[in-house]
């Protein structure tokens, strides 16, 4: 049986557009304004490993965006769990059959569109435009975008009959050849774009788990599959000996692989067992600290729900009070809080609690309060400065990987903010206020910075030291 399988998809003749990508099915009006967007929705959902639900949601967004006077005629379907998710709009119709199930949905029955999640088991689904003809028994659409008036998908029939045959055989092209409106050259099989991560390389990994592209889904058996002819050139041209792809008014690359793995996995949906275990703690009153999985309920034991960990004691530093009792750096001429002049000669410094020295604003919006040392880096939690309690961790990452695990320490010394580059690979640069240039700072040496200084951490991350205490 093909509980999670794609089933056998047969095109119905007609004048619309039909698509089958990894178990996700689309029928739409080829001349419709959003045919391209609908195809994108199918391709992208398949590429992202989404199931029928994900497809229906995406298509609903397309339809919602392009609310025209005339409803858009289209229908989509795809497996969701043991059942099937469908969406139908305009003049399209959907029929879902299964043991004890016979659901017919007509887009004309509603004002916008209808979607439905029909639980399993499902034996078949049919998507039709008004002009759709009867299925031709020999015709199949194992994957691709072709002209047609509708399609049927039989889930009881194993997709495996054809699937193991390589995509370079004729069989994958067969359904197209039988398509009445275009009896000309069948679209040739595209070069396999096997595991290319960005484009369509993922439409054979059904489960939407955050797996790497080389995850276990690829490790399955690949019966009778020859090595792909263009293994590493994702944008490579089609082989010269095949005729050019027949494309209609849409520019969708029909880069669809007829692949046994896809047949096995394409319609699959993430099932809970495949996901990592989760922990859950009920917060509902009177439910106690019940939990779903994981370790005993010790997590909530220190129940005094303490506020966030704060430094218990602010460090003591020498400073002076202004006339309004604001504690200040004894070196500055004006009060940092109220701006009043500090008449230095008359003030005697004393030791008091240091107020926060301002904030570090990072370019992603993170704001760090300077009342403690920080350790910035890709993996700050395990740094010795953090585990010893000297500094708080501040996770800073960059897509280019230019931030080191332990990159930079921000050290507060009395009234000064110092930066210490911890021998990071890409270094740290500072741009003092009013200076257009960035300067490298030497590793392992404290460098004081003034408010208004911009700091570049690695290659692409920046932050700024802000304080109302103008140094």
């Amino acid at each position: 049986m093909t509980e999670q399988g794609v089933g056998v998809v047969r095109p119905l003749p007609g004048n619309g557009l039909i698509a089958h990508v990894g178990g996700l099915l689309l029928v739409c009006d080829a001349a419709g304004a959003v045919a391209g967007e609908l195809l994108d929705a199918v391709q992208e959902t398949a590429a992202g490993g989404g199931d029928g639900r994900a497809l229906a949601r995406r298509v609903a967004q397309v339809l919602a965006r392009s609310m025209t006077a005339e409803p858009i005629t289209c229908a989509v379907a795809g497996r969701a769990g043991g059942g099937i998710a469908v969406l139908v709009s305009g003049d399209a119709q959907v029929t879902i059959t299964g043991p004890g199930t016979d659901v017919r949905l007509d887009g004309q029955d509603v004002l916008t569109w209808t979607d439905r999640l029909v639980p399993g088991p499902i034996s078949g689904v049919e998507l039709r435009l008004p002009d759709a003809g009867q299925p031709i028994r020999q015709a199949r659409l194992d994957g691709g975008v072709i002209p047609g008036g509708g399609l049927t998908c039989d889930y009881t029939e194993s997709g495996g009959h054809v699937a193991p045959v390589s995509q370079h055989s004729r069989s994958s092209a067969a359904p197209v050849a039988s398509e009445p409106p275009r009896p000309t050259a069948p679209p040739p099989p595209e070069p396999v774009r096997p595991r290319e991560p960005v484009e369509y390389g993922r439409h054979d990994t059904g489960p939407s788990l955050p797996e790497p592209d080389h995850g276990p889904a690829m490790a399955g058996p690949r019966p009778a599959e020859p090595p792909p002819p263009h293994p590493v050139t994702p944008q490579g041209p089609p082989p010269p000996d095949v005729p050019p792809v027949q494309r209609r008014e849409f520019e969708q690359p029909p880069a669809l692989v007829t692949d046994p793995e896809m047949a096995a996995l394409g319609g699959g949906v993430p099932v809970p067992e495949e996901q990592p275990e989760f922990e859950s703690y009920l917060l509902i009153d009177g439910q106690g600290e019940q939990q779903q999985a994981g370790t005993p309920g010790s997590i909530l034991e220190p129940t005094e729900a303490g506020p966030t960990p704060e430094p218990l004691n602010r460090p003591m530093v020498y400073g002076v009070d202004c006339k309004n009792d604001h504690f200040n750096d004894p070196r500055v001429p004006y009060c940092a809080v109220c701006g009043i002049a500090l008449v230095q000669r008359t003030l005697v410094p004393y030791k008091g609690e240091r107020p926060p020295l301002g904030v570090l604003l990072l370019d992603d919006g993170m704001t760090l309060r300077l009342d403690s040392d920080y350790l910035l880096g890709r993996d700050p939690e395990r740094a010795p400065e953090v585990t010893s309690g000297e500094a708080r961790p501040a996770k800073v990452t960059s897509p280019d990987g230019s931030v080191s695990r332990r990159h930079l320490r921000v050290r507060l010394d009395a009234w000064d903010v110092n930066l210490i580059d911890l021998g990071s690979v890409n270094g740290t640069q500072v741009q003092p206020p009013g200076d257009p240039n960035f300067y490298d700072i030497p590793p392992n040496e404290p460098v004081p910075i003034l408010p208004g200084t911009t700091v570049r951490v690695g290659v692409s991350r920046t932050m700024r030291y802000e304080s109302h205490r103008k140094g």
Partner: protein
């Protein structure tokens, strides 16, 4: 995202200060009578942060107030932290299902102020009141979503995990490193009221595409109340964002708002 733990997401409800909200189907294990719940996915956190955040939420959940959104559970899967809560179909002041009337706005902020008061009485500061977190109900509103940035990353007044939307609703004193206090929540309530009543923020247009510039502007510009605000609301907002020592309490604010909504 398709879901987390046993929550199956229906659609995204938008980004909050440090995570994204999703509408999800209620899993059978949750002993509540609801078809849908709202799940907030906060992102990757360490185990310590998860513990602290869960504890914080537990304290929040223990506060009894009809004006606080009910929390259901908190958890993590694969290191990604989430928590779920009651789904309010009316949307938020920031993204209402239907645009609220002037009285609707005033009542919603009044309810949020009552919720803040309930938190303050338990010694909890919300820290993240903004139009995103004031949800609209038939009777007025509910306050949602405790600000967890402090908890998730100690010392951070704002984590970079979400949009910057709430910076302009944050008491500048908090941005400058002061400790969170009930007065900070009152400041945020005032800024939220101003935004919802006037349609713009206290700092005017913010260059939100550039977080550093946005923060810098908020940091360096004094907040200005829009002249189009009706005088009573203008005075109230002014009191909320004024001198911390003279700010009304959340209770006092709620009281004044109820009187103005009559």
């Amino acid at each position: 995202m398709e879901g987390i733990a046993d929550y199956e997401f229906v659609r995204s409800l938008g980004a909050g200060n440090h995570g994204e909200f999703y509408l999800a189907r209620k899993p059978p294990r949750l002993p509540v009578d609801a078809e849908y719940v709202t799940v907030k996915v906060v992102g990757g956190t360490g185990q310590d942060a998860f513990r602290r955040a869960t504890r914080e939420l537990k304290a929040f959940a223990a506060v009894r107030s009809p004006f606080l959104v009910t929390l259901y559970d908190a958890g993590q899967q694969g290191g990604v932290f989430y928590y779920s809560m009651e789904h309010i179909p009316g949307g938020s002041l920031a993204a209402p299902a239907e645009p609220p009337s002037r009285d609707g706005v005033v009542r919603a902020v009044a309810c949020a102020a009552r919720a803040a008061q309930a938190l303050h009485e338990e010694g909890i500061v919300h820290r993240d009141i903004s139009p995103v977190n004031v949800l609209l109900t038939d009777g007025g509103g509910k306050l949602s979503d405790l600000g967890l940035s402090q908890v998730l990353m100690p010392g951070a007044t704002i984590t970079g995990m979400g949009g910057l939307g709430s910076v302009e609703f944050t008491d500048p004193a908090l941005l400058q490193g002061e400790k969170p206090s009930p007065g900070c929540d009152v400041w945020s309530l005032g800024a939220t009221l101003h935004w919802a009543a006037s349609g713009h923020g206290l700092y005017g247009e913010l260059p939100t595409h550039d977080p550093l510039l946005t923060l810098r502007k908020v940091y360096s510009t004094p907040p200005v109340i829009g002249p189009e605000l009706e005088p009573e609301l203008s005075d109230l907002v002014g009191a909320c964002i004024g001198d911390a020592a003279k700010r009304p309490t959340a209770f006092g604010l709620a009281d004044s708002l109820y009187r103005l909504s009559a």
